[in-house]
């Protein structure tokens, strides 16, 4: 699929690379959609996430809607255990900050990297039992 004219070939490569390395690090499927959303952005993101089919449970979908300035992150059932809502929230805020500065590609690659990092961090078991 051509990357449209939103990104230079180099930026598109950077995004693909970030997605590929995130997948290699975590085993989760990372997917980024940039464009207009039909209807509610959250619902559209959920539909896109569901259309990933068998990969959906372990998939993290990022929807970026530049026109309405929204970013939505949808995590599947398995993906959510690795990228919890707090990590997704941090990533979405970081992306929104970059987007506000006009840097779409940089925000996407950074946000994906953040989520991959939090997903590959080993879980601390009984973290709350110690105290």
């Amino acid at each position: 699929m051509p990357a449209g004219d939103a990104f230079t070939p180099r930026q598109a490569d950077q995004i693909r690379q970030a997605l590929a390395s995130a997948r290699a690090e975590t085993g989760l499927h990372f997917s980024v959609y940039i464009g207009p959303a039909e209807g509610d952005a959250r619902e559209h993101a959920t539909r896109l996430h569901a259309s990933l089919g068998a990969e959906a449970p372990s998939a993290v979908l990022v929807l970026v809607e530049p026109e309405r300035r929204r970013v939505e992150i949808v995590t599947g059932e398995i993906a959510r255990r690795r990228v919890d809502d707090r990590a997704a929230g941090l990533a979405s805020l970081s992306m929104a900050t970059s987007f506000a500065g006009g840097d779409l590609a940089g925000g996407i690659t950074n946000g994906v990297r953040m989520m991959a990092q939090s997903a590959s961090r080993p879980r601390v078991l009984h973290e709350h039992d110690a105290g």
Binding site: S31, I34, G35, P57, E67, R70, V71, R80, G102
Partner: protein
């Protein structure tokens, strides 16, 4: 200041031959052609980086670049908007999470 810059021109009379008359074509070339060419070169050099970089996203401007989906099912072929009905139906079964933000 004016006299200082005009000095060399005034000095021509003393030194001798000011040269023949310029034809109106030469006059036009020297006094209109050269400045216009200089301005064009500068404008080109200024615009060159953004022409190479292509269109850039600016917050608040309408989005005209269409949709791109990295890592989507369309990566294997097929249009982006082809969200199947059965996929849409399974939305309710997802026990996922996520987050959203605005800018």
């Amino acid at each position: 200041m004016l006299l200082a810059t005009a000095g060399p021109a005034l000095a021509i009379g003393e030194r001798g031959d000011p040269g023949g008359h310029m034809s109106w074509v030469q006059t036009l070339l020297v006094f209109a052609g050269i400045p216009l060419a200089t301005a064009a070169v500068i404008a080109f050099l200024v615009l060159l980086p953004s022409m190479v970089r292509g269109p850039r996203y600016r917050p608040g401007r309408p989005w005209t670049s269409g949709a791109v989906w990295f890592g989507g099912p369309a990566e294997a072929g097929g249009p982006v908007s082809a969200v199947s009905a059965e996929a849409a139906a399974s939305v309710a079964t997802i026990e996922g999470g996520g987050a959203s933000a605005r800018w």
